[in-house]
Symmetry: C3
Subunit: 453 residues, 3 copies
């Protein structure tokens, strides 16, 4: 553990917890019930276990993205979508170890990035029993690494969904290497690493901007540079729907993401070793849940009113947009406000999905409205309930990270285009499907027959 | 937190835990090892974390029901089934906040319902450090809200499965509003809110009656009022099987429910802050697991003997019936008795699924045998191993809750029938499928072809 | 709890933890901060909760195997594969209670098996408050039973995948009875029960050999005795691919297994009641994760180089082989070494899947390379990073358990062949599919049409 990590914790709730524990300790010392406090080593175990449990929930989100995307692409590209998702998680796991973690957390100190070095576990201070006193160690460094690592893959999964059905496998994988090893960690260091945004007072509790908008900007850049799928947009402006091939699978993916989000937001409290932390996490859980519910209900009602039918994929994306919207500040709103924040996320989906089609930006799974637009909304909504946050600092964070990710990912996509001989598969391969062209395995070899597009 | 919550806790195991902790404290004071006890604030964190972890497992059951039901309906109704399940969970999340929680827990005091008011989080006592002494606070109020909330959706999911493939979307959603906001909380207050059934000595640890039979009665009422699917029962008494379209999905749903049930029953201990609680939860886990196993094995053997083939859907329902059967009293039986209680749940499935068909009650997924009949069986089986419970009190609970839910849900269905212009889709829409009629999206647009019914 | 259990704990990390706690206690006594230590009862709760949380993750692996196998068989055998998996988990739950647990853990004492007796819960010592002192009780006996139980089913699941699509249902189920009640527990007692292998110094932290190779040997024996599927291997040596029918389902299964493996390896620390244990578990999590990632990346790169296309099923099996490879020693390697150990697991998949086909050993899901060969590799790799382990002891463990499982499972398969009138379905039934022949339910009744093999 290093000073930046401590800052990271401090910026995200441990300060309150520490103050609280101090107050309680004083109270107890006075009242003679000192033993009721959580002992230092118990705090260490609680904090570490919170990282692990909430971390495995976030890891599970990788499966959620895989299922959501596999259900929303056509059968001829389904194996490829599964392959991309399990491989991007693997790449993120390795790149964050090799360079990403330290680039994000090591020695940022108010600046623009950390050190270029491999993460090396350092639990020696804890092993020496330093749970108390001035140089207290609060959690296992490995558990923090695990929790931060599973966040990285989320950003890459977002890109995967948007550019599906036409991006070349290896171009996408190389983009993922750069995104998870460099782009994500550098912008992440600005806030969670204790960089310049953190000093400015930017607030992004669990990553509406740092994770979801980051992935969303990279996805948007990809969609613009790669272009739309063949047959999606006619010259006369008509839009041909290319419906997802397996909606129960997409529903499964959404439920997995909803479940995983308790880890995403709850674990971002970064501590569980006191009653104050436990209370904070519990409030985060219920706010997260009701924001998703608000997103669903908004989409169900709106699509009924607008289209006279309720659109399942909008409802699913409504849940996700609700979740993204509450992620920047799940700790401070009341339940009612959290429901409204989530519901506005749902409205964003209903408005922006057709709008992107008008702009001929082909976003296969709707990730740009869900992660980018709802992520911006959620970030700007933080000052409504959080005293510390200002609209100015929020706007600076949104714009600066947006600009950084737009520019860097555009550069990477262009470099890949030159180096790899194009980042898009040939027209023949696109028509035949990526499964046959690049993967050699059909997703449902016995079910084909009525495929027309 | 209020007195009713405390009662709720007291009635479900904390009394034993508290007595135990007291005894241990005494022992330790005598032997001079006082520091070995769990400190007050640690208890608070343990209790809260138990609610959160077990709560997210129960939330996951919503996905289990969605997958089970999506797999057991025909392809033409699959999107609708997914939509209903994610929306009902969202409605439950909002209604329980707006009115349900306080109707169930606030000021019931031996009576028939609580107050009509919104739930408002109150963790201020804990925030003041009151973990010890006479006015001790044991857990975060928000974590308790989360745990109770995820239970509500289970009851609504049960209805969803039975009335599938012919109920109108909006009639079902409005029914869900009333069920989760009023019917479920009122009958729940009788026992878990500290109402008249609790005073009578009724025992229902995790809800064989309060959750599963409650949902089952509402489902039965719905099935009777809405009627059977077209083509299911011929005038001459022959029954046409309408097979589920995706059995691996139904299997996935069953495994999810099995996993979630560790949260459902284990978390209902409502505390984890002492060795006694931890021991109780561990015993609940293994009893829950073996009851499900008993249900499966009973169904596998019985269907082989009766039909000369083993029926997968019966085996899946056998697991669920075993789980429902043990839910009223997972804490007291031995492992052997738990296996037998679960196996009898399996027998119920094999007997009642064809019996309902004889009675022309069309239960699409078999939810009435699994949740209603096995729920009654489980409730009546509690006195076998629990000293405190009596068959009289159990019967009073089963009958009174059955009558209440039957009558109130029948009223709601009839009112919806009048107000909504029918609660059932038109014959054309039923033949075309609800996905096309109400949802506008096919579940598997590329797989159609051999659909005949 | 008995002495063997304690040994089991001692051999797996508690010794280190205990020594550490002792050192910390001393340090604190000297420095006057005694209250910072985890109190005895808190340790009890932490340890028990670790068994429960990690246990439910391992239980979830049963679903992972079901989905993986259901996705990798053809549609005509998919219901059967689901049925086998939920039934084998149920049988394991009952047999391990009736005889397996005590055969594995009760009174082994350096020998070759425990007692033949039913497991009986004994949490009385804990209930008497014995968390401290010489006869300290560290966890709930029921939670340990739960954790060990869910491991048993894993071994049986491995067999299920290899012999799929031609084994008779009841022959397989009876084999499972013997495997989970006798074969697995006896060889398990040699190491985890404190038997002769443990005394020899064999090291197998979470079961590369005891669980995965054990299942792998039983699967190999089954594949050899039952023979290949009709049409798989022609007389002229050509191999006909029989592609899996639902690759997103197989991907789901792989992600479930990856998630469950955090429980499998992390929970095998067998304690969480100290900072040392928490640190160990956190390191196990990140090593487990990066080993899986290494397996995926190795398979993705190798199949691209060899076949010019990336094979999704190889990538999925690469993840699993990486996980199996790290399972024997996830606590000691550095992250870099763990990634390499996992990557070599991936290489094993790419090499051995075609090799088995050359040998005409028909392994439907690739379980033999993943669980048997990678399990051997993982076991032999332990001494690279673990000071205590020797290549000699590792080889003795691999060979002795291999010989025992090969011989006993061969005997069981042969006895079943005689008693059951063959362990393989008729040629007609195999062509028609096991779903129709033995299960009577099609997995996807509306999707058939293009089935050719």
């Amino acid at each position: 553990m290093n000073i930046e990590n401590l800052k990271h914790m401090l910026s995200k709730g441990v300060a309150r917890a520490a103050a609280f524990v101090g107050a309680v300790a004083l109270l107890m010392a006075v009242s003679g019930t000192a033993h009721a406090e959580v002992p230092g080593e118990s705090q260490f175990v609680f904090n570490t276990f919170s990282f692990l449990v909430h971390g495995f929930l976030v890891m599970w989100m990788a499966c959620g993205f895989a299922m959501l995307e596999a259900g929303l692409v056509r059968t001829k590209n389904t194996s490829m979508q599964c392959l991309k998702n399990i491989t991007l998680f693997s790449i993120a796991s390795i790149m964050f170890y090799l360079v990403g973690y330290n680039l994000m957390y090591d020695g940022v100190d108010g600046g623009f990035m950390g050190s270029i070095s491999m993460w090396a576990q350092d639990d020696s201070a804890a092993a020496a029993g330093k749970f108390v006193g001035d140089d207290a160690v609060g959690y296992s460094a490995a558990s923090d690494f695990f929790f931060q690592l599973v966040f990285v893959a989320t950003a890459a999964s977002i890109v995967s969904g948007t550019v599906a059905e036409r991006v070349k496998l290896w171009s996408f994988l190389l983009f993922t290497v750069i995104l998870t090893g460099f782009i994500y960690p550098i912008q992440g260091s600005w806030q969670w690493g204790g960089g310049w945004l953190a000093e400015l007072g930017f607030a992004d509790f669990a990553g509406s901007t740092l994770v979801h908008s980051c992935g969303g900007w990279a996805a948007l850049t990809g969609a613009l540079i790669i272009g739309a799928r063949k047959g999606k947009y006619a010259a006369d402006g008509t839009v041909t729907p290319l419906p997802g091939s397996n909606l129960p699978l997409a529903t499964l993916g959404t439920f997995i993401l909803w479940l995983g989000w308790f880890g995403f937001n709850g674990g971002s409290q970064l501590a569980m070793g006191s009653a104050a932390d436990a209370i904070a996490i519990a409030n985060i859980y219920i706010n997260t849940n009701i924001a998703a519910a608000g997103g669903v209900v908004a989409c169900v009602i709106l699509t009924q009113l607008i289209y006279k039918k309720v659109d399942l994929t909008m409802a699913l994306n409504g849940a996700l947009a609700g979740l993204v919207s509450i992620t920047a500040g799940p700790d401070t709103p009341s339940l009612g406000l959290a429901a409204i924040i989530g519901a506005i996320g749902g409205v964003i989906v209903v408005v922006f999905v057709p709008l992107l089609d008008k702009l001929k930006i082909d976003d296969v799974v709707g990730a740009i409205p869900v992660h980018l637009i709802a992520g911006i909304w959620g970030t700007m909504a933080v000052p409504i309930s959080s005293d510390g946050a200002t609209f100015y600092a929020q706007a600076v964070g949104v714009v600066s990270i947006g600009a950084f990710v737009l520019v860097t990912s555009a550069i990477v996509w262009f470099v890949l285009k030159m180096v790899m001989g194009g980042i898009r598969v040939s027209e023949e391969d696109e028509i035949a499907g990526l499964d046959q062209a690049e993967c050699g395995l059909e997703a449902y070899p016995e079910f084909r027959g009525s495929q027309t597009i």
